[in-house]
């Protein structure tokens, strides 16, 4: 088997796609999550049931949407429902297996910030805000986060908790009444982080081929723990890469 060459974004997308199982229902955020979900559906998970927050249920777009509400999502959906209905009848009711989110900042307990960098009243950078993320993070059976690794993005404590991951540790989700399991995996361009089953703190459990654990620790804004047995992501297959590239328009 020949080894293809690939970019760090490509292996991030492929790794995220692999974490989705066939027939799962998946609440898809736009951008990296949408790309990964669509890769999964075209490879090992043809029955992946994708929901976008615009109300398109079971959509099978033939190209990547630029926005969360592109026409192709409505045209190819099993059904289109109103925005209150997608949030109340589908998300809040606990029907969604996995929420697939991006983030601007994430912290050691996988709390997510998409609101502001700096102080809320006097922000350094004003970000788009919450959108559907707080309730996706609360109500999906599990959450997968996909984002690029950097010390600016992986911080000890997020400037603003837009969406709760594991709060400040064990028992916090239960205390807050959040019914899903929260983030079970954070997939980056360097590797994979998962919450420690006891402390709920994110631990490096896998690296992509050629990436050293130390490099990931350096790109992380807290003293990142490394799992005893560090997995190495299997190389992307030719098929996976060709699907990623056909979707993103890379040749």
């Amino acid at each position: 088997m020949t080894t293809a060459t690939w970019t760090s974004d490509e292996i991030m997308t492929v790794t995220a796609a692999r974490s989705l199982r066939d027939r799962m229902s998946c609440f898809v955020g736009i951008g990296l999550p949408s790309t990964a979900a669509n890769v999964a559906r075209r490879t090992h998970a043809p029955g992946l049931w994708m929901i976008y927050e615009s109300g398109t249920l079971g959509t099978v777009p033939d190209h990547l949407p630029l926005s969360i509400g592109d026409g192709i999502l409505a045209e190819t959906a099993d059904t289109v429902v109103s925005v209150p209905e997608v949030f109340n009848y589908w998300l809040q009711a606990g029907r969604i297996d996995v929420g697939f989110l991006g983030a601007a900042q994430i912290d050691r307990y996988a709390n997510i910030n998409t609101t502001v960098i700096g102080d809320y009243a006097h922000p350094k950078v004003r970000l788009p805000g919450a959108g559907g993320a707080p309730e996706i993070a609360a109500s999906c059976r599990e959450v997968i986060v996909i984002m690029r690794h950097s010390r600016r993005a992986f911080v000890d404590r997020v400037d603003f908790v837009t969406s709760v991951g594991h709060g400040s540790g064990p028992g916090d989700r239960e205390r807050l009444g959040l019914r899903g399991a929260g983030p079970v995996r954070v997939i980056t361009d360097l590797g994979v982080l998962e919450p420690d089953p006891v402390t709920r703190e994110l631990v490096l459990t896998g690296v992509h081929p050629g990436v050293e654990a130390e490099a990931v620790r350096e790109a992380t804004g807290w003293d990142l723990a490394v799992a005893g047995e560090l997995a190495v992501t299997p190389e992307p297959t030719e098929e996976e890469l060709s699907v990623v590239r056909s979707l993103t328009g890379a040749s």
Partner: protein
């Protein structure tokens, strides 16, 4: 009932009003937003789940004193720079913000449409939205003792939406992604709908939402009035226009030039020139 857009805006929208222009990516009432800019309306509380570039334009033009929203960005492109500039540098005027999640905003509209003073949801718990927004409280379920989030009803003075069609009695028909438009119209004191066309009869279409004429105050015929967003069955989303806005919005000078062209080229009363221009 069916009047030109400038007249409809003049009749229904006033300085200081709470105004919602809704549309979830699809059917965004862009032409109506531009008319609000042309008429120089001020001190508006702008409401919208997903403020995108037309709200960036309204904010940059100084029409708004407050924004109530849940996600503000240029979808698939990046940030709204006029919005950022107003929040972080009060340019051209300070902008107060009230921030929710989508689920919270959607349920606020539902409560507004339902004649209820508030809505309950499982939401917000543990987030920093709570301490930065006095409009997020809790209630306790009188049966189970569970604590839930409570948000107040949203009842705009005016809601503006764009739809594919209306008939001559002002019954409105839209389809495709229908988002929150029905609730936003039903929650409002007054409603203006811009449409692609007026037809004799609204032949039923799968997935349609019909807004009976008695909940619509004015209809204005504005073909292309949702561009650069799209109208399902009429025209596609102009993704290039969204990307192109980024450079204009980033720069006060470029924006000011854009604004001069919008307001100068089309004096109040003149129709949206091409119907699809940024």
């Amino acid at each position: 009932m069916i009047v030109p857009l400038d007249e409809a805006v003049r009749e229904l929208v006033h300085d200081g009003d709470t105004v919602a222009l809704e549309g979830f990516t699809h059917l965004i009432p862009v032409a109506a937003g531009h008319e609000i800019i042309r008429q120089g309306l001020r001190d508006l509380t702008l409401v919208r789940m997903t403020p995108d570039i037309v709200y960036d334009q309204l904010i940059g033009a100084g029409c708004a004193r407050k924004l109530v929203f849940s996600w503000g960005g240029n979808p698939g492109v990046g940030s709204l720079h006029r919005f950022r500039d107003a929040v972080t540098a009060s340019w051209p005027v300070p902008l107060e913000i009230e921030e929710h999640s989508h689920a919270g905003m959607a349920n606020r509209y539902v409560a507004g449409a339902s004649g209820l003073p508030f809505a309950i949801l499982r939401g917000y718990s543990g987030t920093d939205l709570v301490e930065n927004n006095p409009h997020i409280k809790t209630v306790t379920c009188p049966f189970s003792g569970q604590e839930l989030a409570a948000v107040p009803a949203l009842n705009p003075d005016v809601t503006i939406v764009h739809a594919q069609r209306a008939d001559r009695d002002g019954n409105v028909q839209l389809w495709g992604i229908t988002g929150i438009q029905k609730e936003a119209v039903l929650a409002a004191e007054r409603a203006l709908v811009t449409v692609e066309e007026v037809v004799d009869a609204l032949d039923p279409v799968p997935g349609q939402v019909v807004l009976p004429g008695r909940v619509v105050d004015r209809v204005s015929v504005v073909p292309g009035g949702a561009a650069p967003s799209y109208a399902h069955g009429y025209y596609e989303r102009d993704n290039d226009a969204y990307r192109a806005w980024d450079a204009v919005g980033r720069d006060r000078e470029a924006f000011t030039a854009w604004l001069a062209e919008l307001t100068g080229a089309g004096a109040p009363g003149a129709p949206e020139p091409a119907g699809r221009g940024l």
